[in-house]
């Protein structure tokens, strides 16, 4: 429970500063400081248990399928890191109280910093690897917000994005790596993973897993070449840099490497991946730091170099390398944070961080100078300082490398890097506090930093001194247990007395110190050379890469998605032909067992006409009317085919649909240009012809193969049950209204929706130009011929009578609601054509939408009627009745359903027609029809 509290207290505490962000800074600092301090003291209270070698585990199931659980673990390593995180956090919060004095943004800062503390604690105290990853990504996100804290500056925005992309991207790789690791170990629980080292290292997936995990760790811990984000993260306020980018977040990668050390480390691959990376990072960071004029820039590169150093140590694999790594990690946190605080104070005091201008500050802030001297000396590794010991430990370990090539390279390399680090440490101290007088500072004379603001700095400096003077004590009480946890065995205590007498490390230290001092003395010519080199800004490179990537993506997208419907359709058809044809590649039995029926002249003639008419549509498609006529011929001959092959219902339906379709299409086409331009080129023509030809032949072949094969189909059931079950002798109609009435309900809905869609689309549509154009055209000179209107009026009652007849007999003979509806619609359409829209509107029922909706409702409610009798939706019933005069007749519930169909068909057709027609009239737009 205490473990959960350690983590949750900062999370809960994060709300207070956010909610009370208008409070004075000191109170916000108090709000933020208390939770941090509480976590810190909780950790201290657990120290005895941890020192005794206990591993506290607290677990609560979350997602068992994933193996992800809320699992916390406190052992030596976790304790060391957690204590650093909360301890440093408390000091940073105290320090920030002065940094944010008088700024309105402090509430946001405190909130985020506690959130960040929560995330970091989560990483170091997780027992479950996936759970750890949750916090890992959270640190990237909070860090993004903190780097972009001053979002009005472009540098901050870019720095934030760059760090997010690099660390977040690393997190994605880490996810992959940890998933693999978990599968190899059989669990994500650390206690099991740490014991499965043998199995993991023997697994064939080990190299992949290791690369992914290390990429995750390297990106987070700013290892070369991913170090680029760290210097740009310095756009963040100084407390953020001091906390995230020196003491905590960047150590997360190193923590991971230490944490998983027993499970994945100390193989040849590990050495080959980690050591060169660490060495490169160490050198690049140390070298570039020397040339940074910005105090924070120098500190950032120095941090990179130290991160490289620790990574190098973790990679070496010598017996005490891990001890040295963790010891140095503690030292680094202790000396780097005060230096950052100093940078922040100098920045606020002088308004600048440029070391070429800030000089000789000892006159103005002697206390700060004294307090900075200690950490700077520790960073340089001067004798008696903490850094001296840890650097010497590095030298000792570097001499123990056993891999042939590296035996000499590593010691020389680290000595050289030590030399640079001495140089930049001297520089930061000497340049800021001595080196002449300040040069045109924005704030001159510099303001006096508050004494109390220096308290956290003083405490950390004290820490540096303690470690320097009593290394064995600190090591035994704090570091040793972490080393044991990280190496998975009991590591013997580090012999600091032997360290002080070791010969070679001493010599290497002396070389580094003298060399570093000389290098610093030679700085001016070196700076001159450096300033002549082209300036490389990683942010700009990053932006350039992103811009390139975006431009590339845009080009690709525009190439593919070019807005050409023809091309999209061609792609679809090619895919269809390709896939469908692929399945038939080895198919040779096109002719099935059923023999072909004899060919007669009628069929051949009909088929030829259909083919020719279809070709005609293609040939004439530039001129709308002939194309439409050809299409009509197609439809007519399909109708005849239906009639010829004894499907009178289909023939009737097809005929009436054909009529209405042609009328509506004529109306619609009149809005389009009468001729479409010739824009096909020969290649396109060939493409289209090929694709269409193959598709047509394919469909023909498929139909042939299918139709010549016998099949037992459900149609026998329909034939047998139409009368006894559906009460109708017209099987087609019984299928429509009974067996598959649900389909019909759906289809009339489609029709209704289409009509409503036309209404909705044309309601607010204005085609003024088009209307004027139509009025000018000569063929509308006599829009409503007298003969037509007279005939139309005569036809109307007859047509209505016919449709009523067709409707009523539909259940037993060809007919039904659908056909009847179309006939009624055709008759009414004739009135529109003959009399004109306005004329017809005045004389006719115009409530088309209620007709549509009512039809669907009627069909639906009829279907629901079956519920009353305990039958499923759309169950029909019928009975035979007899009346005087009329005689015996049948009433079926399906008739009501069919009436719904009828109403919807009439309503839909006329709604479409009337609204398309409305567009033609000058007065039309604006007035709702139907």
């Amino acid at each position: 429970m205490q473990l959960a509290l350690i983590i949750l207290v900062p999370l809960l505490g994060a709300f207070a500063p956010a909610l009370r962000r208008r409070d004075p800074v000191w109170r916000l600092a108090l709000f933020a400081g208390l939770p941090a301090l509480l976590s810190f003291s909780l950790l201290l209270s657990l120290l005895p248990q941890v020192l005794a070698g206990e591993v506290l585990v607290y677990q609560w199931d979350w997602i068992s399928q994933l193996g992800l659980s809320f699992a916390l673990r406190l052992d030596g390593l976790g304790w060391l890191f957690a204590t650093l995180i909360t301890g440093m956090g408390t000091l940073i919060i105290a320090y920030a109280r002065y940094y944010f004095e008088g700024k309105a943004t402090s509430g946001r800062f405190y909130s985020l910093i506690l959130l960040f503390m929560f995330a970091m604690l989560g990483i170091v105290l997780s027992e479950n690897l996936l759970f750890m990853l949750v916090f890992w990504e959270l640190t990237s996100l909070v860090s993004f917000l903190l780097i972009g804290f001053n979002w009005h500056s472009q540098g901050a925005r870019r720095g934030a994005r760059m760090s997010l992309v690099i660390t977040g991207g690393g997190g994605l790789l880490l996810l992959a790596g940890l998933l693999l690791l978990g599968q190899m170990a059989g669990s994500y629980q650390l206690s099991e993973v740490l014991l499965a080292g043998e199995r993991i290292k023997a697994d064939p997936r080990y190299p992949v897993m290791l690369s992914l995990v290390l990429l995750g760790a390297f990106t987070k811990s700013a290892q070369f070449p991913f170090h680029l984000w760290l210097p740009h993260a310095m756009s963040a306020p100084t407390p953020v840099s001091a906390y995230l980018h020196s003491a905590t977040m960047v150590k997360a990668g190193l923590f991971l490497m230490a944490r998983l050390h027993p499970a994945i480390a100390d193989t040849e691959l590990w050495f080959n991946l980690v050591v060169p990376t660490g060495m490169l990072t160490l050198m690049v960071g140390a070298f570039v730091a020397m040339f940074m004029h910005d105090i924070k820039g120098l500190l950032a590169y120095s941090t990179i170099s130290h991160l490289g150093l620790i990574a190098l140590l973790l990679g070496l694999g010598t017996p005490l390398a891990v001890s040295a790594a963790l010891f140095h990690l503690v030292c680094h946190a202790l000396f780097k944070a005060p230096l950052f605080m100093m940078a922040g104070m100098v920045d606020q005091a002088t308004g600048s961080r440029d070391m070429q201008r800030i000089n000789g500050l000892w006159r103005y802030m002697p206390v700060l100078m004294v307090l900075t001297a200690v950490p700077a000396a520790a960073m340089a590794g001067l004798p008696l300082m903490s850094g001296y010991l840890s650097k010497k430990m590095l030298f000792v370990e570097s001499l123990q490398v056993s891999y042939p090539f590296w035996t000499t390279v590593v010691p020389v390399w680290v000595t050289l890097a030590g030399l640079f680090s001495v140089a930049y440490s001297i520089r930061i101290f000497h340049n800021v506090f001595y080196n002449g007088r300040p040069l045109d500072l924005p704030i001159y004379p510099p303001r006096q930093p508050s004494r109390r603001a220096m308290a956290p700095l003083a405490l950390l400096t004290l820490g540096c001194l303690v470690v320097g003077f009593a290394p064995a004590l600190v090591y035994d009480k704090v570091v040793a247990m972490a080393v044991n946890a990280a190496s998975g065995t009991l590591v013997p205590a580090y012999d600091f007395s032997a360290l002080s007498v070791a010969r070679w490390p001493m010599i290497m230290s002396i070389i580094a110190m003298i060399g570093g001092a000389l290098f610093y003395l030679a700085r001016n010519p070196l700076f001159a050379i450096h300033s002549r080199l082209p300036e490389v800004d990683a942010k700009n490179i990053f932006e350039w890469i992103v811009d390139r990537a975006i431009a590339y993506s845009q080009r690709r997208v525009y190439q593919l998605e070019n807005g050409s419907l023809q091309r999209y359709l061609a792609l679809i058809l090619v895919t269809t032909v390709g896939l469908g044809g692929w399945a038939l590649l080895r198919f040779d039995q096109w002719q099935g067992p059923i023999a072909l029926s004899p060919v007669d002249a009628m069929s051949v003639f009909g088929a030829s006409v259909i083919c020719l008419a279809a070709l005609g549509v293609v040939v004439f498609h530039h001129a709308r009317l002939p194309a439409l006529l050809a299409l009509g011929v197609c439809g007519l001959f399909v109708t005849l085919a239906f009639a010829r092959f004894s499907a009178p219902d289909l023939a009737l339906t097809q005929l009436s649909v054909e009529v209405m379709a042609v009328v509506i299409m004529m109306l619609a086409l009149s809005f389009l240009p009468q001729r479409s331009p010739h824009e096909s080129s020969l290649p396109r023509w060939t493409r289209d012809l090929t694709v269409a030809g193959i598709a047509g032949i394919g469909v023909g072949g498929l139909a042939y193969a299918v139709l010549t094969r016998p099949v037992d189909s459900i149609s026998d059931f329909f034939l047998a049950n139409a009368v006894p079950g559906g009460g109708g002798t017209n099987v087609v109609n019984v299928i429509l209204v009974d067996f598959r009435g649900f389909d019909t309900l759906g289809e009339i809905t489609v029709l209704g929706i289409a009509a409503v869609a036309v209404y909705a689309f044309t309601r607010d549509l204005h085609l003024k130009e088009r209307v004027a154009q139509i009025a000018d055209e000569h063929w509308v000179a006599d829009p409503h011929p007298v003969i037509l209107s007279m005939v139309a009026r005569l036809v109307l009652p007859i047509a209505l009578l016919v449709s009523a007849y067709i409707f009523l007999r539909g259940h037993n003979m060809p007919g039904g609601g659908f056909i009847a509806g179309l006939i009624t619609a055709a008759a009414l359409t004739l009135q529109y054509m003959a009399g004109g829209l306005v004329w017809a509107q005045e004389r006719m029922l115009t409530q088309f939408r209620p007709l549509i909706g009512g039809g669907i409702l009627l069909a639906g409610v009829t279907g629901m009627g079956a519920w009353v009798f305990g039958y499923p939706f759309l169950t029909s019933t019928f009975g035979y009745f007899s009346l005087p005069l009329v005689g015996k007749f049948e009433l079926a519930s399906a008739l009501l359903f069919d009436l719904g169909v009828y109403a919807t068909v009439v309503g839909s057709t006329l709604l479409i027609l009337a609204n398309l027609g409305k567009l033609m009239t000058v007065a039309g737009p604006g007035k709702e029809i139907g």
């Binding site: 080009r555 419907l565 469908g580 149609s715 389909d743 209704g752 869609a757 909706g853």
Partner: protein, 505 residues
């Protein structure tokens, strides 16, 4: 007997019909009816999930005609899940529309209800031809909704949308006709049974018809060479419509799962592996295109459209991998990606309306009102979209990667998903920083932020979070659903079992 299974189709259908009939009803009445219908659908969805969670299948024989002769509705865990997701999404969308877009054209609400009827019907039906009918309903309704609000961009995108989808319909009917000619039945379970028993010489024909169906569903689901209708259509649609369309590609994916694992999945030597041979590479290429498109988009709506394409790529690629757990993880990802895509479409509108100029375009720097609230919302949504913890994106991604690890080709899926996440991370961080950090602060917002709309998006994100927090029961349900899907015989027996009982229930 219980009739509730027809209600997910009938309720919105009749609601839509009523709204058309009573077209003079005031906007408030229309809204009330529409919201009530969506609320009812949500309750039905919850009931359906509870019902199917007990195991087994719920059947409904329409017209009291036994399978395979009549049309049968079949509810299994997958269809129940889809019903619930659709209903929840529709409730959010309709509430959002009531605050914004439903006045911008005629008959928003009835069209919306018809659309829902079509989608729900497609999820419930156990009949091939009936599936075609419902595809028609949802196609024509979605076309009408796409045009809602009018304007050049919508008409243009709508034309491509409807023509391409009509070609799809034509292919659909061709494929169903072929299958009917070969099997003599339309009921999916019956067809599956007959295909499993059909002689060797018919196999190529059946496979060919199956691949035609893949093209049909591929158009709906938006897989690579068939997806070009999607980006413009989705980015042109009104916000709540686009958000509802987040489920539309999933209808295609549902159909692929249903038809290929059931109809082409029974027997000792099922046909679906022949289909997967094609689907797998196409899905991976779709994933890559989606990633590229996300990076290259000029507006949030276009970006979201490509995010949808990424999710389609992931889903379809994962479907082809063997194993129950992968399928379950795929379904989890399906829920997650639907919610997040809808959220992004709504956020594009929410933010766009508060920007002084440029609406949701990235290349215009414009002051934005309510920078903190909207920025925070965008930040959280972006976390969910990239798949960072603790939202459902992370859980679904981790599960999918985990379950796909051992599968052949799993490496490609891993690479594709992680690469796509990375590109999305780049794109959204750039978008967010350009929208909320770059511009000068605004003196006063253009108009007050719509609290209801904001809360809807917040609730949807909370859903995504709770999906992650309470993932355990969801995963259990999905594993059972996947087990059900991998066992087509259970479905066939359940549906055709009524045959021996004489049909009447």
């Amino acid at each position: 007997m219980s009739h509730w299974l027809i209600l997910p189709v009938l309720l919105p259908l009749l609601c839509g019909a009523l709204l058309i009939t009573w077209y003079q009803a005031s906007m408030n009445v229309q809204r009330l009816l529409s919201i009530l219908s969506c609320l009812g659908l949500t309750l039905l969805g919850i009931y359906a999930v509870a019902q199917s969670g007990q195991g087994g299948y719920t059947l409904y024989y329409l017209g009291n005609w036994e399978a395979p002769y009549g049309i049968t509705l079949v509810l299994d865990r997958l269809s129940a899940l889809m019903l619930l997701v659709t209903a929840g999404l529709s409730l959010c969308c309709v509430l959002y529309a009531c605050r914004t877009a439903d006045r911008r054209g005629a008959h928003f609400h009835p069209l919306f209800q018809f659309q829902l009827a079509g989608i729900n019907g497609a999820f419930l039906t156990g009949d091939m031809f009936n599936l075609f009918v419902f595809f028609e309903i949802l196609l024509i309704a979605s076309y009408a909704l796409l045009l809602h609000g009018g304007g050049r961009a919508r008409s243009r995108a709508g034309l491509h949308y409807v023509i391409i989808n009509l070609v799809g319909s034509a292919l659909f009917i061709l494929a169903v006709g072929t299958l009917y000619g070969l099997t003599g039945t339309l009921n999916m379970a019956d067809m599956a049974r007959i295909i499993a028993e059909s002689p060797e010489e018919k196999q190529p024909l059946i496979t060919s018809a199956g691949l035609l169906l893949l093209v049909v569903f591929g158009i709906k689901a938006a897989v690579l060479p068939l997806l070009f209708w999607l980006p413009r259509a989705y980015s042109a649609a009104t916000a709540p419509v686009a958000a509802l369309f987040a489920i539309m590609t999933k209808v295609g994916i549902y159909a692929i799962i249903r038809v290929f694992l059931l109809v082409f999945g029974a027997g000792d030597d099922p046909i679906f592996p022949w289909v997967w041979v094609w689907l797998w590479p196409l899905a991976l290429v779709t994933l890559v295109l989606g990633g590229i498109g996300v990076l290259g988009s000029a507006s949030l709506r276009t970006m979201t459209a490509y995010l949808v394409i990424i999710s389609v790529g992931v889903l379809l690629a994962a479907i082809t991998l063997p194993g129950e757990e992968t399928l379950a993880a795929t379904l989890f990802y399906l829920i997650h990606s639907t919610i997040l895509a809808a959220v992004f479409f709504l956020i594009a509108d929410l933010v766009g309306r508060q920007r002084e100029e440029g609406y949701d375009r990235f290349y215009i720097t414009s002051p934005v009102g309510y920078r903190w609230l909207l920025g925070g919302l965008f930040f959280i949504a972006a976390i969910g979209m990239v798949g960072l913890p603790p939202f459902s994106g992370f859980i679904s991604k981790a599960w999918l990667l985990q379950s796909a690890a051992g599968a052949p080709g799993g490496v490609l899926l891993w690479g594709g998903m992680i690469g796509a996440s990375f590109l999305v991370l780049m794109a959204v961080s750039r978008a967010g920083s350009g929208w909320f950090w770059k511009p000068e602060p605004i003196a006063a917002p253009l108009w007050p932020l719509d609290k209801v709309c904001f809360s809807i998006v917040a609730v949807m994100l909370a859903l995504s979070l709770s999906l992650a927090i309470w993932a355990n029961p969801v995963m259990g349900y999905l594993l059972d659903a996947a087990a059900q899907l991998r066992d087509p015989n259970g479905y066939i027996e359940a549906v055709l079992g009524g045959l021996s009982a004489g049909g009447v229930l």
